[in-house]
């Protein structure tokens, strides 16, 4: 008598793992793209703002703090979510502009540049599941 006739459990577990990894990896990709944009914008003097871009997921955080850092953001409650943020207190003024400084956005452009990565990872889920046993 057959006790099982497919790989449903393995597929479900692989899907769960891949969905978590996609969230964490996409946040890391966004962090990389934002840092590149800060450099491209010519906004690096001490490097604190660039190096203060960090990610947070249930796996952990690479927030490093510092004298001019905002408090870290909360960990996401879902294991399928990850966040990225700017620690430097003055990041918003560089990104959004001030009374006398035009905006030089890096957060939005870095995020936009990450969209194709997320699309590609989502498109690759089926291939990942094929290998599940």
């Amino acid at each position: 008598m057959a006790e099982g006739f497919n790989h449903w459990l393995a597929i479900a577990e692989a899907l769960d793992k891949e969905c978590q990894e996609i969230a964490v990896d996409t946040a890391a990709e966004a962090k990389k793209n934002i840092k590149q944009r800060i450099t491209a914008n010519g906004q690096v003097q001490t490097g604190f703002m660039r190096d203060g871009i960090y990610t947070v997921s249930r796996k952990g955080s690479d927030y490093t703090g510092g004298k001019d850092a905002l408090p870290p953001i909360a960990k996401p409650t879902s294991k399928y979510a990850a966040r990225y943020a700017a620690a430097a207190r003055y990041s918003i003024h560089q990104n959004n502009g001030t009374r006398y400084i035009p905006p030089r956005p890096f957060f939005g452009p870095g995020t936009e540049r990450t969209r194709p990565y997320l699309d590609a990872r989502m498109a690759g889920i089926e291939e990942k599941l094929r290998g599940a046993k």
Partner: protein
């Protein structure tokens, strides 16, 4: 005109054309930064980010462009700044198809609010990031 320019032109025309907003923000609508001595509150529009939508052959059809639109002024005028931001939200905050032209959609994607020090005075900024979908001309 570039698609980004089309979006800016549409935003400026829409906001400058509203008499209610002119009452809340007598300093007017400016691109990137307002000139020194501009009356307050005022509105500042700037390009934030964007991406293109192409067809299967790589021909660009649409541009998804995000613009920051905010009201700025001294914190002592916070009510007027907030009223101006609310009016901006009324005008371009909800998903809508524009009646004509190349801008076929606009909606607010996220709110923006932060303070800053201008000299020794506290200033405040209220607004949002607005996504426009713009057809290639």
């Amino acid at each position: 005109m570039s698609t980004i320019g089309v979006g800016l032109q549409w935003l400026i025309a829409t906001l400058r054309g509203d008499t209610t907003l002119r009452g809340y923000a007598p300093g007017g609508v400016h691109l990137d930064v307002a000139p020194v001595d501009t009356a307050t509150p005022f509105i500042v529009i700037s390009f934030d980010s964007g991406s293109d939508t192409t067809n299967a052959n790589g021909v660009r059809l649409l541009t998804n462009a995000v613009y920051q639109v905010k009201a700025s002024g001294p914190a002592s005028q916070i009510e007027a700044v907030d009223n101006a931001a609310s009016r901006i939200d009324d005008l371009i905050g909800e998903p809508k198809r524009t009646p004509d032209g190349l801008v076929i959609h606009c909606s607010r994607e996220s709110p923006v609010q932060y303070g800053e020090l201008v000299g020794e005075a506290k200033w405040t900024n209220f607004g949002g990031l607005h996504r426009l979908i713009i057809e290639k001309s």
